[in-house]
Point group: D2
Chain length 362, copies 4
């Protein structure tokens, strides 16, 4: 198995194909057009199909149909396009359909710009659409991790019969890194045949129905209780995070995800070289959020720094985790501007020197 | 000024007309069709216009156009329809356009059912769509309050140049109560002429542009900083809540909003009559959330009960407010089922008797 | 009453307003955007409403709704946009709804170009959409006539409860000429109140239903017989045409409509000055087509010249009229190119000199 | 090669697959849903793809994309759905893309009914959409012929790079007959590789562009001249018709197509058995229309009967062919009602007895 230099978007697409994804429906939007482009070339080679839909609304219903038929299917978009899929995603979750949705975030709100952002965190993790449901949200910080998470995403989607989102920023989509794909790969969950899928019964079994409509409120409540049991299981079993220098002493704990975490790791190396005690917890799953890991790591620090490419969205989950047990500081850029290692170094130094003010949210 | 017996949906619609709303664009969905129906009859009488759009996506762009032209405009829908407006709402917020959006929540996810729910709380308050923005969310608990809040909503929308959402449940939309409209009514905020609107300049002034696209990331960051300043001001100035028996002693503090709060008030009357010390804080604005009011009131209680028609959404904001300072208990129904006063009485009694278990979220 | 210098598109729009049109629904397309632009400014002044729809498909359904409610309503578009309205127009005709549709033809097929054309003649007169129906088609050759025909169109639409199309080319839309509007204007047909309209009955009369669905084939056949009776009456009563020098001797008869007829009239003046015996019949209604007028005039000539901005579309109706009784010659340009007076002069001269070949179609 | 009993819709679908059609895009509408249903089952078996589009508008653009990529692609619909494809079909013709479009006509106008009709003749042959273009129209009268014509349609579409329409009525779609498919089948035209298709050049050749936009009117005129040359060639080379008893004496010539021709053949058998001299010309291509064949056959008769399931649409082409050389009589039903053999017998008998009146159109 050799490494191949690939753009993030292409690695995501290839990983999906390697995971057995045969179908892709989407509508183009910068900065993730390399994903549909790659899929349009690649899927016919494996007997699959690529369809550019009339709109993101149409695409979100097409993946519903394909997932209902038991196929592995993916869509990808960027922020405004994901908003257009909101209703469809609620239908997918309500009907318990496994799909993988890639959001390569661009800066908003509205049309905004085409440069990287993390401002769809709250949308992805809390309020993606109407009704009580959640999607698993996986946030890679490298091309290799993006490829690995895409493959895991298909297994998780199938196992939980629920949409899984890959939440990246424009850097994850655009930068190039060496990546390798495991040729023979075992599913990460024990997967059962999709006996629920509408594959055509022809009298050989009772017909399957894929549906999110329950006009009887008692049945709809039962359905919701069933869904919540599933989300509770996800919260219990699927939390992922990575630690960076948390096995050493540290005064400041950084919490960051995605490419911002990568910037922070560079800054931490520099800071530690200069004798500053800094560590990081990097959430990999944004839902379920690693509340306990963040809390435990924070309790070993004097203060916590949250760094984000947004006005402050993940910070709400850090506050939930910490419950005011440690002061929280915040470093961010918006509108497509990036946080630099120097800014992180400066901010941490200011915190250590008592020149930074904590923030409050709730 | 006399009171008139009206259905909630009709009162909401009439209140909008009284507030100077001349335009309505929407697409029908149960259980709020009385709003567009009333508007289609009423708006022509005041020289306005009602348009049933091709879809909620279309409606969300039509209100963009009308608001950009400086008109007072409203749309209404129910849960799945609001999800379809997600992209449009982000555009409205990004372009700083004042509109009033009514969401009469039905149970989900997906198509779900047509009975009342509060399961769009997280969507409304946290993740309505992509990008860094918020909408003011007002949650009435009676028909009179619904009418009053609709009128306030137009002033708040104009003042902050931001979408304002009325978040009701099916009961607010369907039940009938006496309601009165203030004939002469002063705006609740000092409003300035909409000199930014695209009303046709004909050379008399520089052209106005309504836009959310900023390809230069520095400009987009500045735009986001400007928006955040506005949201900070909203958090500082617009928090609304109501207290119920908090000026008396209480062991248990209930936090609930909308019709659930009304159910709880009945239960509290019954409990207090039986000598049980219970009080309630009812958030009226869901964004901005009354964190301080909830926290202060909770500190006077031994434990807190959150009651919701969802799997537990507002409870996240209560946890942020309390920061583990008091145990939180939870009572809910889902799928269109209602919480009854008896259930509230039973739950509070169990809490007082030590037979209820607290819940943890973060 | 004074004449005002106006662009054709604006005169068409103003004429509609003068005719009592209160509503306009459309989607922009070159070269007729001055019509919606003018309407968006003008309709609010008369208590009407202008809506830019999501698409031409949406617009064609909005005019259905407005006409069904008994209002005078117009839409306008150019060739590709009219094709998108095809289904809607069949619904309008099937449901017997009066609307005025303006098609300012651009060159096709497909996206084509934005310059004038007459290549939608067959679409307008024969095969606008599925099913047995026709629309009245009025083809002006000047701005004044365009304004007059628009006003007549509303009366004809109401009288026959059928769509009426104004078929112009880009020159009619773009050129400027003095135009006057009759201030007090009697309808050209005796119009009855629209007792069939869905105006809200509130129990005061049986509900009206606007519908084109008849699942019982006997009823649908009766409905079609009723429609055909109407189209027969239109053919009998509404034929319009203009003659040019047909009361003098002529060897060559030109048949042309719209701005091409105007070019031909210039050529005829020149030819007659040079002693060449030429005359013209100009169809004003394209459906119903002035077959008899064309035939009678042709029988006084030795040969007939058809001039069109298409590959030859109206020529089919001239052939039907003549039934091989006279040789037909053809002069045309396509793709937005115009026929010039010189080309007409040259062609007629060639015909008179025996240097032009006749054409055959059927 | 054995015959198989098949429904018309299924035979049409299977014939397409046998012809190498790999892709189908459409939207369901009665009475032709068996075509998409069959395709959704069959295409994956041959490595193809079936997509139910968001609408007929979407489908008409998807076949544009697929044809542009050089694939054999088909769509099918019924009358209102074909109207929705009008714009798309003009784009296909303008961009010279080979597709096969099946229209199983239902009665109109508007929603109409779901029973058989021939009322889309004028739409199909004259005015399908804006601009100067034609589609080849093939009208089968049996299931076997439907299957054969579908296979020919793909060859004709590819050869002329133009849309080809199969125009059937509900009977063709719904009835069952034995049908056989030629296993090895030579194309009916000499086909060249699609070197113009956008298959991805990767620098190996100059990029191909599929386009119908020509902003320069001179270029658009040249493009139109090129298209007309092609349509002229089609008129010259592709006329198809069938004669029935025209090699014997006849007083009455019937002109009919599709299943009406089949009804007429039964009537003719009966009439000839009773000693009545009747024959028929059955157009198989409606564009190009067999004007010469109809004219020549008519000149051997005393009078001509046109029978149609419409108000009289093909009769216009018969009038063009005959140019008043013979009296034309007309028999029709509308709204989904069928013409019976008895009605044909009665009409022909009345014609022979001088009890039928001729009709006039132009």
């Amino acid at each position: 198995m050799t490494k191949k230099l690939m753009k993030g978007s292409e690695a995501i697409a290839e990983a999906a194909v390697q995971a057995g994804c045969k179908l892709f429906f989407g509508y183009p939007i910068t900065p993730q057009n390399e994903i549909p482009e790659y899929m349009s070339m690649r899927l016919p080679q494996v007997g699959g199909a690529f369809v550019q839909a009339e709109s993101e609304v149409a695409a979100s219903n097409m993946i519903y149909g394909a997932a209902g038929a038991g196929e592995r299917v993916m869509t990808s978009s960027s922020s405004p396009g994901v908003s257009l899929m909101a209703e469809g995603i609620s239908y997918l979750a309500g009907s318990e359909l496994p799909v993988v949705i890639v959001n390569i975030m661009r800066a908003g709100p509205g049309l905004g710009g085409i440069l990287p952002s993390q401002a769809d965190y709250l949308q992805a993790t809390k309020g993606l659409a109407h009704g009580d449901f959640r999607v698993l949200v996986l946030a890679p910080w490298s091309i290799q991790e993006a490829a690995d998470l895409v493959q895991d995403a298909f297994d998780l989607a199938d196992y939980y019969r629920n949409p899984v989102m890959i939440l990246g920023d424009g850097l994850i989509g655009q930068m190039m890194e060496p990546v390798e794909f495991r040729e023979v790969r075992e599913p990460i969950k024990e997967l059962e045949p999709k006996t629920w899928a509408t594959t055509g019964c022809n009298g050989s079994r009772p017909p399957n129905i894929i549906n999110s409509l329950f006009l009887d409120p008692e049945k709809l409540e039962q359905h919701n209780i069933h869904l919540q049991t599933k989300f509770d299981q996800i919260v219990r079993d699927e939390v992922r995070f990575a630690n960076y220098h948390t096995d050493e002493d540290y005064d400041v704990l950084i919490v960051a995800y995605g490419t911002v975490a990568r910037v922070c790791s560079t800054a931490i190396d520099e800071l530690r070289e200069a004798g500053k005690a800094v560590a990081m917890v990097r959430p990999i799953t944004l839902f379920p959020y690693p509340y306990e890991a963040v809390r435990e790591a924070a309790l070993n620090a004097s203060s916590v720094l949250v760094a984000e490419l947004s006005s402050g969205q993940m910070i709400e989950d850090v506050e939930l985790a910490l419950a005011r047990s440690r002061p929280i500081h915040f470093l961010n850029r918006m509108g497509g501007m990036l946080v630099s290692p120097d800014e992180v170094v400066a901010k941490v130094t200011a915190m250590l020197d008592g020149r930074s003010e904590e923030v409050h949210h709730g």
